[in-house]
Amino acid sequence: MNTLRTEEMTLNMGPQHPSTHGVLRFIVRADGEVMREAVPDVGYLHRSIEKIAEKVGYHGFMPYTDRVDYVCAMFTNQGWGMACEKLAGIEVPRRGEYCRVIAAEFNRIASHLLSVGTMAMDIGAMTPFTHAIREREMINDLIEELCGARLTFNYMRIGGVGFDLPPGWREKALAYLDHFDPILEEYNALISYNKIYIERLANVGVIAADDAVNYNLVGPNLRACGVKWDIRKDIPYSVYPDFEFEVPIGSGQWGTLGDAMDRYMVRIREMAESSKILRQALKQLPPGSVLAKVPRNFKPPAGECQIRVESARGDMGWYVVSDGTAFPWRVHVRTGSFAAMGITQKLSRGLMIADLVTLIASLDVIAPEIDR
């Protein structure tokens, strides 16, 4: 009696693939439609950014940090600024900190909008993407007016921010938030509560809480597993203790705790929380200077420091070693996407090939952030 002969098949997904969010390659070993394993192959976007820092000096490295994670560049700006300030013991003026938080939280909304929009698009729903991008463009308009660029902001400086808010910007920002909150509801009605969409995401790529901790997941990916860990709350930095906000965690109400739907909904809820923070920050904005006195020839004393920032993709670490000269001796960035990439190999076992796209999209991986 002859049985049907089956054979394991090796597939390459990427490096150029529309749904890998950048140049990213997966080597998929599949048995029919079911994956045995998907091995991520990273390194296509390595630009030696950490090495560049050793050559361009402290002030000159700020525009490079925009390129570490171009979707939420305000956080990389802030991380670098905070690391240098900690090294040299500079205190940022209060208004400067508020400007940083305002810019960063707007950037978080923009980043999550891109994430939820492309997630729907990867799964096959094209329309929500245009809705999300429309809102993101409006935020980009605001940020462009604030700092002059839409993507590579270079807004923050060591010791504060480069520009104060332009006249009338605060009213515009508040008007935008008034417009944004109902839009989020509309977006939920459009796609988040769609039965087909939920069925497609629920129970896909389930991460257990202890697995998430062991694999070093951070940010919304970690919180979706039910672990309440947010640097803004747990190791407060900047002026975050001034604001009241919730840290949304996964509920598992659509399927299992820690599935793709939970990660999606955590991002949606975080946008609402960011909107809350922004309203408080714009209301409480103190007067004064936005930039501390920092010498143009910036030479921090020899030493090392580690800074943690809660970026849109989670806990971002900046480690800087100074030897007392005008150039850092060593810079290292720890990003959330790299950790998220590490867990895909484990999660892909037994998953359908079509669900791999869902998995990558739900982990919100930004390819240049993996390699730096």
């Binding site: 525009p63 329309t127 504060g160 520009f163 006249p167 509560y193 769609n194 039965k195």
Partner: protein, 189 residues
Amino acid sequence: MGAIGSYVENIKDAVTTIFEGMAVTASHFVRKPYTVQYPDRTEVRVQDTLPFRYRGILEVDLEICTGCLACERACPIDCIVIAVEKDPATRGMIISQFDIDIAKCMFCGLCSEPCPTGSIHHTTEFEGADFSLESLIRRFVKEPIHAYKAKKGPETDPRLAPILSRGMHYLDQWAQPGGDKPAAGTEES
């Protein structure tokens, strides 16, 4: 509820939620369109609608350039090349070369911050497509020119005064380090 019951329930859920989504899409038929058709269907040039701080292609007002090389030092990628030499006759500075490689420039704005007169500044121009990399190098010095010397008191030369006032207005947009007063033209609260 049996298997058939949940089957029907699922179909009902799917249909109603799809209709909710469709309602959102349909509501956009009666809203104002958000998109604009670039470049030929806009009422004003896009360049004119951009905010003042927009970081477009760099431009240099050579008339008010002091030849201090602050921008060259600030540039992280060395896309600015300036050559200055001393004029033996007047002991002033002569700028004989001021090149900016727009192909290299990453529009970070770090060069325009330390400029004492606002000579080097970003424009709102962004359409930089060209046929060769060579033509993207902007050479601002046509023939060697005397560097600008800042005067005590206001500028009296009627030709330079408007250029300088534009430059200083540009500089006012930056937050001055350590200045308790916010930069001019920014929000007071």
